[in-house]
C-alpha cells in the first residue's frame, strides 16, 4: 500500500469545499444564532465571532466546528454579576429560544445547540462560548475574555475556575501557521482531526491537537513525505504528552497551560493511542486506513489503469544529451 497516496486521498476527500451545501447551512444557522444573541443582549454584547476550525483553516468536512464566541461587557450582568450568572443567563436564553428545535446542552465552557435533523437528514451543531471582558471597555483594547468553566475540564475544576484568554489570538496563531505551512502543519492537523473523529467521544480537544502539532514542528525538524511527517508528529505526542515537564502554552494567554485541559489519565490515553497506532501501522500498512479513513462519500474511483512503464534492472541515462 502506498501510505502517502492514501493520506493525500484522506485529506482531499475531507476538503470542506466538497460539502458546500451543508457548510452553507452551518453558516446560515450560525448567523441566525448570532443575530438572536445580538437582539437579546443589545449593547451588552460585543460582536460575536466564529472561532471554530473553519476560522482557523483546519476544518474537515465530516465535522464542522462552529464555535460562536460571544464577548460580553463587564457589567452586562450587573456590576456584581458573576461569570456563572453570565453562563446561566445565556444558557436559559438559548434554551427558551431553541428548546423546540434543538437539544440545548451545558458543556465545558460552551453551550451546545444541536438542531434536529432537517429534511435532508442534516444535523447542525453550534457551540456558543460566552465570555466577559475583565473590566469595563477593556475588550476593545486587548480582546481578552474570561470564560466560565461549567464542569471539570481536565485538571481545571468546575465553577471554581475561570479561564482568561484571548480567543482571537488563539485563532490567529493557528490560522497563520496552518496557512503558511499548508503542506505540513495544516495537513497533519486535518489528519489528526480525521483520526479523532473516528472516536465517538474523546477527551482531547481539537484545539489541543492543533497546538501540539505546531509544537512538534517547532521542537524538531519534521520533513519528508506526508507519512514521514505524520509519523514524526505521532511519535512526538507519544513521547512527550505524559512527561511531567510537558506544557502547552495557550497562544491567548501565556500563563495558561493547556496541558491542564487533560487529566494525567487522559494524557496517558492519548500517548497510548499514539503508540498503538504506530505499532499497528508498522505491523501492517493497511491499518492506516482504519485510523485515517477516506470520506467514502467523496472517494473517486480510479477511472483508468495507466501505469508508468516497468523497467527491468537499473536504467542507465543516455551518455550525452542536449537540452535547449
Amino acid at each position: 500500500m502506498d501510505k502517502n497516496k492514501h493520506l493525500e486521498s484522506v485529506i482531499s476527500t475531507h476538503q470542506i469545499t466538497k460539502e458546500k451545501t451543508l457548510f452553507d447551512k452551518y453558516v446560515k444557522k450560525k448567523n441566525e444564532v448570532k443575530e438572536a444573541l445580538e437582539e437579546n443582549y443589545g449593547s451588552d454584547l460585543y460582536y460575536p465571532f466564529n472561532s471554530g476550525s473553519y476560522a482557523k483553516n483546519t476544518a474537515i468536512n465530516t465535522k464542522f466546528d462552529f464555535d460562536l464566541v460571544s464577548p460580553f461587557k463587564r457589567n452586562a450582568f450587573g456590576s456584581n454579576g458573576t461569570l456563572k450568572e453570565m453562563y446561566e443567563d445565556v444558557y436559559y436564553f438559548l434554551y427558551e429560544k431553541y428548546k423546540d428545535v434543538a437539544e440545548v446542552k451545558k458543556q465545558k465552557v460552551s453551550i451546545g445547540l444541536e438542531f434536529y435533523a432537517d429534511s435532508d437528514g442534516d444535523v447542525i451543531k453550534i457551540d456558543v462560548v460566552p465570555g466577559r471582558e475583565l473590566s469595563q471597555d477593556q475588550y476593545r483594547e486587548d480582546e481578552n475574555l474570561n470564560l466560565y468553566v461549567y464542569y471539570k475540564y481536565g485538571n481545571i475544576d468546575a465553577g471554581s475556575e475561570r479561564i482568561k484568554t484571548n480567543v482571537k489570538a488563539q485563532i490567529n496563531n493557528i490560522k497563520d501557521r496552518a496557512t503558511a505551512e499548508k503542506d505540513s502543519i495544516r495537513k497533519i492537523i486535518r489528519l489528526l482531526k480525521v483520526w479523532k473523529n473516528t472516536k465517538y467521544i474523546y477527551p482531547t480537544k481539537s484545539f489541543f491537537l492543533e497546538l501540539i502539532t505546531i509544537k512538534a514542528f517547532d521542537s524538531k525538524s519534521i520533513t519528508g513525505s506526508i507519512w514521514d511527517k505524520l509519523e514524526t508528529v505521532l511519535q512526538y505526542i507519544r513521547d512527550n504528552v505524559t512527561k511531567e515537564s510537558f506544557t502547552q502554552k495557550d497562544p491567548g494567554n501565556s500563563s495558561n497551560d493547556l496541558a491542564d485541559t487533560l487529566t494525567s489519565t487522559e494524557k496517558q490515553q492519548l500517548s497510548d493511542d499514539m503508540k498503538n497506532m504506530l505499532e499497528r501501522i508498522e505491523e501492517n500498512d493497511e491499518n492506516l486506513k482504519t485510523y485515517f479513513p477516506e470520506n467514502t462519500k467523496f472517494k473517486k474511483e480510479d477511472t483508468n489503469n495507466n501505469q508508468y512503464g516497468k523497467n527491468s534492472g537499473m536504467p542507465i541515462p543516455p551518455p550525452k544529451l542536449n537540452f535547449g
Binding site: N4, K5, T223, G309, N311, M314, P315, N322
Partner: protein
C-alpha cells in the same frame, strides 16, 4: 508537493526541499542553463512516482540557451541509489531556462526521444523538469512522456 495528470491518472510527488535545492543550484549558473539527472522510485502499482534526489553531471557544457551533459563520473552514484532499499533509479532529467518559461523546446523533446529509444535506459516514461527562472521569478514545469505524447503535471 503532489502533482497529477488527470487525463492519464499518473501522479508524482517531490519534496519542496529538493525543488529548492535544484533552484539554488540552477541560480548559481545563471544566466547560463544548468541541469542534472532526476532520481526516484515508482509506487507498487506504478501509478505514482516519487522524485527524491538528483545527481549532478561532472561534465557539461552550457550557454544561456543550451545545456549538454555527460554521464561520465556518475556511475557510482547511480549504483548507490539503486542499492538502497527503495531501489531508487534514474527517472528523468531537469534543467533550467534562464529568463524564460518552463516550456520544452524542440531540443528538449528530441532529448526525451533519445531517452526512450536508448536500450540501456529502459524507462518508457521519462520525466522532464524545467525550471524557468529569472532574478525575480521562478516557475516549475514537470512533464512526462506517455504514449508518444508529452503531458504536463498540474
Amino acid at each position: 508537493m503532489i502533482l497529477k495528470i488527470e487525463k492519464i491518472g499518473l501522479s508524482l510527488e517531490v519534496e519542496d526541499e529538493l525543488l529548492n535545492k535544484l533552484l539554488e543550484i540552477g541560480k548559481t549558473h545563471y544566466p547560463k542553463e544548468f541541469g542534472g539527472f532526476l532520481i526516484g522510485y515508482y509506487s507498487e502499482n506504478n501509478m505514482h512516482l516519487h522524485i527524491t534526489d538528483t545527481i549532478l553531471p561532472k561534465k557539461y557544457q552550457a550557454s544561456k540557451y543550451n545545456f549538454e551533459r555527460s554521464t561520465k563520473g556518475i556511475e557510482n552514484e547511480l549504483v548507490e541509489f539503486y542499492a538502497e532499499n527503495l531501489r531508487k533509479i534514474y527517472i528523468g532529467e531537469w534543467h533550467t531556462h534562464p529568463d524564460n518559461s518552463p516550456i520544452p523546446s524542440a531540443t528538449d523533446i528530441s532529448a526525451i526521444n533519445t531517452i526512450i529509444n536508448s536500450k540501456k535506459t529502459s524507462i518508457a516514461n521519462p520525466v522532464l523538469l524545467i525550471i524557468g527562472c529569472s532574478n525575480t521569478t521562478v516557475d516549475f514545469g514537470f512533464y512526462v512522456w506517455f504514449e508518444n505524447k508529452l503531458y504536463k503535471y498540474e
